[in-house]
Every structure is written in C-alpha cells, then in structure tokens.
C-alpha cells in the first residue's frame, strides 16, 4: 500500500505543474529552483485545462481524458475530469473529497486512501508555490534546458522507482507557465499531461473548492471567462 501511495503522490505532484529532444543539463539547479519559487510567489490562483494521454505499450492508441485543474493558495486544489467521464477531486491541507457523476447526479465518494491523498494535496500545493525543494527528501531533482526548462524528478525509493522511473515537468522559459508533465515508467508506459489556457490570479467564485457541494464547473468557467 505504501508503494502505491508513493506512486499516487508522484503522479499527483506531476499535476502540480504543467520539449524537445536536445536537452542540456543545468549543472547547479539550485538557482533555478530559487528563481522558480520567486516567480511563483505572486501567483495566488491558477486555472488551466489539461489533456491526459495514458500511453500503454499494450494498446495502439493513447487513452485520453480531459479536464481542468484549479488551485488557490495556500492549499486548495480542484482536479476535474470532464471527459470521457466526470469526476471531481477536491483537496486542501486537511482533507480530500471526490465526486463521481453517475446516474445523472453527483455522488460524493467515501474515499479510500484519503490520508494519502491529503498528503498528495499538501505536496501539490508546495509545488504550485514553486517550492520544489520540499520534494528533495523523496526525489532527486535535476534541471535541463532547451526552449524552456525541464525539471526531472527521480524517486529515491527503489520500490517506487521500479514502477515510476522519472517525472518530467516542462515549464515555459520564464518559469511561470506549465506546459507538460510526463510520468515515465520502466517498461516504457507513460502518462503525458498537457496543459493549456493557463490563467493566473483569477478570482474563483464561492464554492469552487467546496468539499460538500462544489460549484458546477460550467459556473466556475463562466465566472473566469473574462479573466486575463
């Protein structure tokens, strides 16, 4: 169960951020980590769309899902899959909640792994604030550059590494926008999360992060429509 928890944490941390083949490794990543933290400092909220491609060697086509990710400092997160099914995952420092749309209505799940997910959410918040150093206990972090920056995180725990070999976080050159996250597995399977329409410092309407009755995403999007 611990191993599974580690994988979930690893996967979710990927989502806290959003290539080319010619990567050049940055010798000392520490200044970049500090720059990332300072660039993210003024970002109080984030809203972006995502497309997730699950590429399994077994199947010819990637398995696609789409949705939105919303974050509000210090710790609120909403990860909502809108296609091919609808599910909402909400979290903050203390708790998590998940809703599934089934039988024509939203159902709140009595979620398993809730403590683990709460920890995941804490780490996601830390990463969203550019605090990658919070992850260095569990991951070796290196940075490569091309027409942007790629933060590469390798799990220190060998058991986790047997299932997830590395995580790539692709950022824009100014470090303020997440472009893509790739979670690599030793057997060649991977999960690619591509982000778009990223907006910073938007004003979320009430109940956007409500863990009992979250506002419908259409209402959230409507409120954000004119945000820069």
């Amino acid at each position: 169960m611990k191993k599974l928890a580690g994988i979930f944490i690893f996967a979710f941390c990927a989502a806290a951020f959003a290539a080319t083949n010619e990567l050049q490794t940055v010798a000392d990543p520490q200044p970049l980590l500090e720059k990332l933290r300072s660039r993210m400092e003024p970002v109080k909220t984030v809203a972006m769309d995502f497309t997730q491609d699950r590429e399994l060697n077994l199947f010819a086509e990637p398995l696609k899902s789409e949705g939105v990710m919303l974050m509000e400092r210090p710790d609120k997160i909403r990860w909502e899959t809108m296609s091919p099914y609808q599910t909402i995952l909400l979290g903050d420092e203390n708790s998590v909640a998940q809703f599934e749309f089934t039988g024509g209505k939203w159902q709140k799940l009595k979620l398993g792994f809730s403590q683990m997910l709460a920890r995941v959410m804490q780490q996601m918040s830390a990463m969203n604030q550019g605090n990658l150093s919070a992850m260095t206990n569990d991951y070796s972090v290196s940075v490569s550059t091309n027409n942007g920056f790629v933060f590469i995180m390798v799990p220190k725990d060998e058991k986790i590494r047997q299932m997830i070999s590395s995580l790539e976080i692709h950022l824009a050159p100014d470090l303020t926008a997440t472009r893509e996250v790739v979670m690599n597995e030793p057997n060649g399977d991977l999960t690619r999360i591509t982000f778009s329409h990223e907006k910073h410092n938007v004003q979320f309407p009430a109940r956007t992060f409500d863990q009992n009755k979250p506002l419908e995403i259409s209402s959230v999007e409507s409120a954000l429509k004119n945000a820069p």
Binding site: M1, L4, F8, F12, A60, L63, E100, L111, G112, D189
Partner: protein
C-alpha cells in the same frame, strides 16, 4: 403485519433487479472490441474509482487492464476462451488472489463467458452494471465500445507472468 406488507414488495423488487445467474444479452457486446469503462469499487465502507480497458477477441480471449488514479495500473489479466486465467500484473490494491477470484469472475459475468451461476449482477441499462458480492460492490459504467479485431499480441499467454 404492516411491516410484512411493506417488506414483501421491496423484496420482490430487489429480487427482480438482481439476478445471481446474469449473463449479458446476446449482441450487447461485440465479440471483437475494445471497451473502456469507469467503475467504483466499494469495500469495507470505502470507495475507489477505477478505469477499465478491455480488449475482447473471439479467438484470443479477454485482456483487461485496470488503472487507478492518474493511470497507475493496479491489475492486468488475460482470460483465454477456455477460461484459463493469466495474471499479467498485480498490485497491493489487487493482489493475485483477488484478481483471480474477483476481477476475473466479474469480468466474465458482465462481458460473457462465465460458466458458473454465481453472477449477482444488476443491469441498470445497457451501459451500467452493478455487481453485488459478499464483501464488495462494483459499479461499472461502459464509456465506449470500439468494435473491431484486436492485436493478437494482447492475447499471447506466453508473455503472461503467472498462470
């Protein structure tokens, strides 16, 4: 007396919905297809959302992969047309024993091929099934059915980890 009368229609209604020897209506699923599903697995009062990916082949059998959050594979199973089960990948969430005795059985109940009568499946509509077992409930929704032949490599038991 009043309670008995209330109980009787409820019992009849319930008995009418859940059959313990369910098998899918003929033609519900193509013999050769790729089928994606979303499921909620409930056990010990906790619920776990899962995704299912099933490749079906008339001659090859069924190859079924279950993923949990963020696409982590928690089970991978091959069931041959003769009923032989090959566990390709297990996990702490779904150990081999659970896959063999639970996942494989439910797979055959919903998508056809079960030869025992122990299939307590409620079919809410053509794309929604609930499996009621002692110890757990599985709520399965069919998201997409792509008819067509599936690659032979999916059903190659020589690549199976354990039989």
């Amino acid at each position: 007396m009043r309670r008995k009368f209330l109980f009787l229609p409820l019992l009849l209604m319930f008995a009418g919905c859940v059959t313990h020897h369910f098998s899918p209506p003929p033609g519900l699923f193509p013999a050769n297809a790729f089928i994606t599903q979303r499921a909620t697995f409930t056990a010990r009062g906790k619920q776990f959302p899962l995704d299912g990916f099933l490749a079906m082949s008339e001659t090859g059998g069924k190859r079924f992969v279950i993923t949990a959050m963020m696409g982590v594979v928690v089970a991978d199973i091959l069931v041959k047309p003769d009923g032989k089960i090959y566990i390709m990948r297990s996990s702490q969430m779904f150990p081999e024993k659970y896959i063999r005795n639970g996942v494989a059985r439910d797979l055959e109940c919903i998508f056809g091929g079960a030869d025992d009568k122990n299939c307590p499946v409620q079919m809410l509509d053509r794309k929604h099934f609930i499996v009621h077992r002692f110890g757990y409930t599985l709520d399965v929704r069919i998201l997409d059915v792509k008819p067509g032949p599936q690659p032979a490599k999916l059903f190659d038991e020589t690549k199976a980890a354990k039989q």
